[in-house]
């Protein structure tokens, strides 16, 4: 029976023979055992819970000061932890690790997560109301934070490229970017087929243009 050590909490996980490591999660902290998989976090501020967000996105929000250490964080299916207990998100500076810092003054009440201060509240995207004492929900539906795909547009451009040069270039560039975004989990993957098909058609269209040009000039 293969054993995998969780890179997040160090727990040893026994896997069944037919269980793929890519789909398995740690029994203690629910961290994906596949090192390639990126973590997804729920973020709670009071009773407001949003997410899941990719870890890279959370770090961006921390850098933009939209997410603070006084909020609660939970990996999918894992326990809630305050920011200081998430060193993967809030790495402590080396000089401050041994000396406990005095508690900072409480910040003023924040607007709901994601709301721009001074602007009217927008329709919440994936806001849920749960108690942070309770375990977070097990998300199964795709996150509404994912960017919508442009598969249909890219497919249409790919088809047009069979007749013109320019749409092929646009289809190729857009498809490259969208396929990368889908791979990183930032875009809805349901359009992956159309995006790939549009990309291939775009390349074929450019090839056709090259053929016509060679025949015309030759």
């Amino acid at each position: 029976m293969p054993e995998l050590t969780c890179t997040h909490c160090g727990a040893s996980n026994a896997l069944a023979e037919d269980q793929a490591a890519s789909a398995a999660r740690c029994i203690r902290c629910a961290h994906p055992l596949d090192a390639e998989a990126e973590l997804r976090y729920y973020i709670a501020q009071g009773a407001h819970i949003q997410g899941p967000y990719l870890a890279s996105r959370v770090r961006e929000l921390i850098a933009e000061q939209q997410v603070r250490p006084d909020m609660q964080f939970s990996l999918e299916g894992g326990a809630w932890r305050p920011g200081p207990e998430c060193p993967e998100l809030f790495p402590a500076p080396a000089a401050e690790q041994d000396v406990p810092a005095p508690p900072p003054p409480l910040p003023p009440p924040l607007p709901p997560l994601g709301q721009v201060p001074g602007t009217p509240s927008e329709e919440p995207r994936s806001e849920r109301h749960y108690s942070t004492d309770a375990p977070p929900p097990t998300p199964v539906a795709p996150s509404t934070q994912l960017r919508p795909h442009r598969g249909t547009l890219i497919l249409v451009l790919g088809i047009c490229s069979l007749f013109c040069f320019l749409p092929g270039i646009i289809a190729w560039v857009l498809a490259n970017e969208d396929l990368e975004a889908m791979k990183s989990g930032a875009m809805d993957r349901s359009g992956e087929g159309n995006t790939s098909a549009g990309r291939i058609l775009g390349i074929v269209g450019i090839g056709l243009w090259a053929l016509v040009t060679v025949m015309e000039l030759g």
Binding site: E60, L61, A63, E64, Q66, G114, Q115, V116, P117, T119, E122, R125, L162, F163, C164, F165, L166, P167, G168, I169, W172, V173, N176, E177, E180, I203, I206, L208, W209, A210, V212, T213, E216, L217
Partner: protein, 145 residues
């Protein structure tokens, strides 16, 4: 990373920083380079360009495609006749300038522009874009050929 300083949910326009690796698309860039080289070659070394058709759509159907007139447009631009180039295929010139601006933004400044539109605004944009596209195509077929 967002550059505009507002929250990332409610923004309509975002200027996002991208890596060099993401900004460069070697395949499409190579294709554009080859296309530019061919156009330059034709403009410089092919004196009789009247019967030259580099469009597979026109070869197949006999009708100009929405991007037809590019060669004539490039020729006009080389002669410094911007208005003449615009009249050859207006949308192609505008789109070309937009693509050039995006390229400069991406490759020169490492930024990319994201437009976040509501469903209604997106529908309106598509309707107008489609109407302009068809009007331009009709103009190209009728007046440019």
């Amino acid at each position: 990373m967002s550059e505009s300083g507002h929250g990332f949910f409610g923004q309509r326009v975002r200027l996002e920083r991208i890596s060099r690796r993401r900004a460069l698309h070697m395949g499409p860039l190579l294709a554009v380079f080859v296309w530019g080289t061919v156009v330059l070659y034709v403009l410089l070394f092919v004196p009789d360009r009247e019967g030259l058709v580099l469009c597979s759509f026109k070869h197949l159907t006999g009708v100009a495609c929405p991007t037809c007139g590019g060669l004539r447009q490039a020729s006009q631009l080389m002669e410094g006749n911007v208005w003449g180039a615009f009249l050859t295929n207006p949308l192609l010139l505008v789109a070309g300038c937009a693509v050039l601006a995006v390229l400069v933004l991406r490759l020169g400044f490492g930024r990319t522009l994201h437009l976040e539109l509501s469903d209604e605004a997106r529908r309106q944009v598509w309707l107008w874009a489609g109407a302009v596209f068809l009007a331009n195509w009709l103009y190209v077929i009728t007046w440019v050929g």
